[in-house]
Every structure is written in structure tokens, then in C-alpha cells.
């Protein structure tokens, strides 16, 4: 299965990925994606608000969907909330499979779905000023490629 969690605390991508292969000899491919806070345009912090109960439900649903679509052997998704500084990691998706194709596709699918379906909202802080991040049409387009006919 793919474990999902939200937390305020930092996570260790290397340890998360290592746990997916520990003690097993059937995993041939591990893909990790880690999203980080960029200091674009003088950004000084990123504040993530979320809807906890719905986030848990959506992340579990997205994880189950990936599990059904690809032959996966394990996975972990952690999304942070709260106030993050430039350089800090926001989200990690780590996927294990026998082969690389499934691991890459599932990780991309999960990121695209997290961007468009998980109830998080980012607020940028630029010193004393602050603004909510607008949703990107490009994220909707990226997610739409996974829709089944």
C-alpha cells in the first residue's frame, strides 16, 4: 500500500525511500519526488493551510487509485502544512515498483493529483506582505492527462 500523512514537521526523503526497499528483494525501482519552497520574487516564507479531514481522505483516495492503476510494491506520501522557509521540503512522494516505468508514472500521477485535488492552500509571504497563490491552469492540464476515457 501507499502510506499517506500530513505533518508540520520536516521529513527525511532518504529514510522514506530506504524504508521502501528494506529487507525486500522484489523492488527494482524507487522514484522519489520532493517539492521545495523557492524564494522566487523575494518570497520569505510559504504558509500552507489545509482542510485536515478532507486532506486525509483525498490523499488516501489518490493513493488507492495509484495502487489500482500500476503494479506497485510500496509507497509513501507526506505533505507538510504550516509555515515553511525557502529551501524547505513541502511534499514527498516515494514509490517502489519492480520496474521503472510504473514507478515514474505513479509518482507523476500522484504529484499531479495532489496539486489539483488535495485541499491545501499556499500563502506567500514577502516580508510583511502576503498573498494567496493562484491555482495554475498548467496543473489542471497536467492532471487531466490521467483522466480515463
Amino acid at each position: 500500500m501507499i502510506a499517506t500523512a500530513t505533518q508540520a514537521e520536516p521529513f527525511d526523503t532518504g529514510a522514506i525511500a530506504a524504508a521502501l526497499t528494506a529487507g525486500r528483494h522484489d523492488v527494482g525501482a524507487v522514484v522519489t519526488f520532493t517539492g521545495h519552497v523557492r524564494a522566487d520574487d523575494g518570497l520569505t516564507a510559504l504558509v500552507l493551510e489545509h482542510y485536515p479531514a478532507m486532506t486525509d481522505r483525498q490523499m488516501a483516495g489518490i493513493a488507492a487509485e495509484a495502487w489500482a492503476r500500476w503494479p506497485l510494491l510500496g509507497g509513501t506520501i507526506i505533505h507538510r502544512y504550516g509555515r515553511l522557509l525557502p529551501g524547505e521540503a513541502i511534499v514527498v512522494v516515494a514509490i517502489a515498483s519492480a520496474h521503472r516505468g510504473a514507478a515514474f508514472e505513479a509518482a507523476e500521477f500522484l504529484m499531479d493529483w495532489l496539486k489539483t485535488r488535495a485541499p491545501f492552500w499556499k500563502r506567500e509571504e514577502h516580508g510583511n506582505a502576503s498573498r494567496w497563490v493562484a491555482a495554475k491552469a498548467s496543473d489542471d492540464e497536467a492532471a487531466s492527462r490521467w483522466e480515463k476515457p
Binding site: 493551510e49 482542510y51 513541502i90 496539486k115 485541499p119 491545501f120 491555482a135
Partner: protein, 84 residues
């Protein structure tokens, strides 16, 4: 009574993250609900003015504007999500 939850700038404009309301009879759809909510205060009106930027979840599942309200426990109203 239904729990209304507001997030991000919807929350800021309404001035509260949650309120418990008795919905009036006759709200057939999510769009009807938003129309009614917008009458409650200038903050509600400002928050819901741009319907294209409003997303709604009933009992933690996304719903479309023409979806029926039903008898939910919790309705959440928020901008398009920007996680990941």
C-alpha cells in the same frame, strides 16, 4: 444544522473559518446554497462574489455547482487548491 467550513481567502473575507447554520428550505443545489450564503453579510458576499474561483466539498468530497445539497454534516467552501 450544518457545519460550514471556510479556507484560505474565503475564510479571510468571511472573517471566520467555521460556522454552524440552519439551512433554509428550498436550497436545491450547491449554487443555491452559495446564493443564500452571500446574503448573510458583506464578508460572505465578498468571499463568494467570483463563483468561478469557488470550490465546494460536501462531507469531504468535491461537488459541482449543480449538485444537490442533500442532508450533509459538513460543507466546505474554498478557492481552487494549491498544494503539492
Amino acid at each position: 444544522m450544518v457545519d460550514l467550513l471556510y479556507f484560505a481567502w474565503v475564510r479571510e473575507r468571511i472573517g471566520s473559518g467555521a460556522e454552524r447554520l440552519a439551512l433554509p428550505d428550498g436550497l436545491a443545489s450547491v449554487a443555491d446554497l452559495l446564493d443564500w450564503l452571500a446574503t448573510l453579510s458583506p464578508g460572505h458576499a465578498a468571499a463568494l462574489a467570483d463563483r468561478g474561483a469557488i470550490r465546494v466539498a460536501i462531507d469531504e468530497a468535491f461537488v459541482a455547482a449543480d449538485a444537490p445539497i442533500g442532508t450533509p454534516r459538513e460543507i466546505a467552501i474554498f478557492p481552487p487548491v494549491t498544494g503539492g
